[in-house]
Symmetry: C2
């Protein structure tokens, strides 16, 4: 189903939930049509919220029937802009950095990790998956040449802030931080923390352990 | 501040947000008192929601003043049960599994990863941090002896379901799944997916890239 709506018209909060809907539709739904109610229940979200969200990105909803599942998936993918590929890079090619570099679940979001950088790497080399690991001295040039805007911090706590600074100086505007600490960035740069400890704590509570 | 409230009286949804409040109070708040409004704004949550949540775990809130920061931290920690340590184990000692095994941000949630298991490991060995890596043949015995209830899946997609089955059979009741797929478990077992791709997609949208 086509939609005339522009990405910029979609509220941030709605955009932020689209990957959730997309994953749910792709992995949990096997019916041809799907109601906002079922999506809301499946994801533990409010029905009104889901109805509003979907109304922003699709005009395919029909009373009592709901959405055509395939059509809704298309509309969400359009809104997410997963037709193209957005590249990102890692700084910190330790165990975690290399594990993420080899991770293959990114394509469905139109994302890719192109390369990793590490101060311990002296000469360009490839990992098992064929992706390249670069010395830090190549970082700025690489970012500029490839128009990279997303950086992933995979270094230890002690280095996280200086790595964030390097990223920002090179033109990175969005940072995913795996170090268990906060980093300070100038206005206009977005940082999110990937907090494994928090996920495990959530799990423990949910399971009432 | 003491509270007579029992952990079981706290709604799951509230419990699930406590680690967020705790992290915020510990890392972002330097004042002696803190209002629910400021916490809500800081975390991007609704004020009514935060007020209700905190009311469930603390009776220290005062009109116009808010909570004593230290007292609220104590109340949340009591509710979370972070006085003791809950142990967990990993199956899959590849790059990601070993990276998580060495992760040191878990203590603040009263959590610990005790060991990792992998079918490629034939003899018990230690990683750099001194934690032990075991063959799969030791798994059931270890789980029983240590009363482990939380398992972390760090294997490839193809093996994730069979690893989940092994965990459930051994008595694990809470699973954190890092493989980019869903796994089926019987009623009574809680599974959460740790979805790095989703986090990166969220970041991309938040930064309007």
């Amino acid at each position: 189903m086509e939609t005339d709506m522009e990405r910029n018209d979609i509220p941030r909060a709605t955009l932020g939930r689209l990957p959730l809907y997309l994953r749910f539709l792709k992995t949990e739904v096997s019916t041809d049509t799907i109601s906002a109610t079922r999506i809301a229940n499946g994801l533990g979200l409010g029905e009104v919220l889901v109805r509003k969200d979907l109304g922003k990105i699709s005009d395919g909803g029909r009373p009592k029937i709901g959405y055509k599942t395939e059509g809704l998936i298309n509309d969400i993918e359009n809104a997410l802009g997963v037709d193209g590929v957005t590249k990102s890079v890692i700084i910190g090619a330790g165990k975690l950095g290399r594990a993420l570099l080899g991770y293959n679940g990114l394509w469905e979001y139109g994302l890719e990790i192109s390369a990793a950088f590490d101060r311990e790497i002296k000469k360009v080399q490839k990992d098992e998956s064929g992706k390249k690991l670069y010395p830090m001295s190549d970082f700025v040039k690489y970012i500029k040449n490839h128009g990279i805007k997303i950086g992933i911090i995979c270094v230890e706590v002690e280095e996280a802030q200086s790595v964030a600074d390097v990223m920002v100086d090179a033109g990175i505007t969005a940072i995913l931080n795996f170090a268990p600490c906060t980093v300070n960035v100038p206005y206009g740069v977005t940082v999110k923390r990937e907090d494994f400890a928090l996920s495990l704590a959530h799990l423990k509570l949910s399971a009432e352990l």
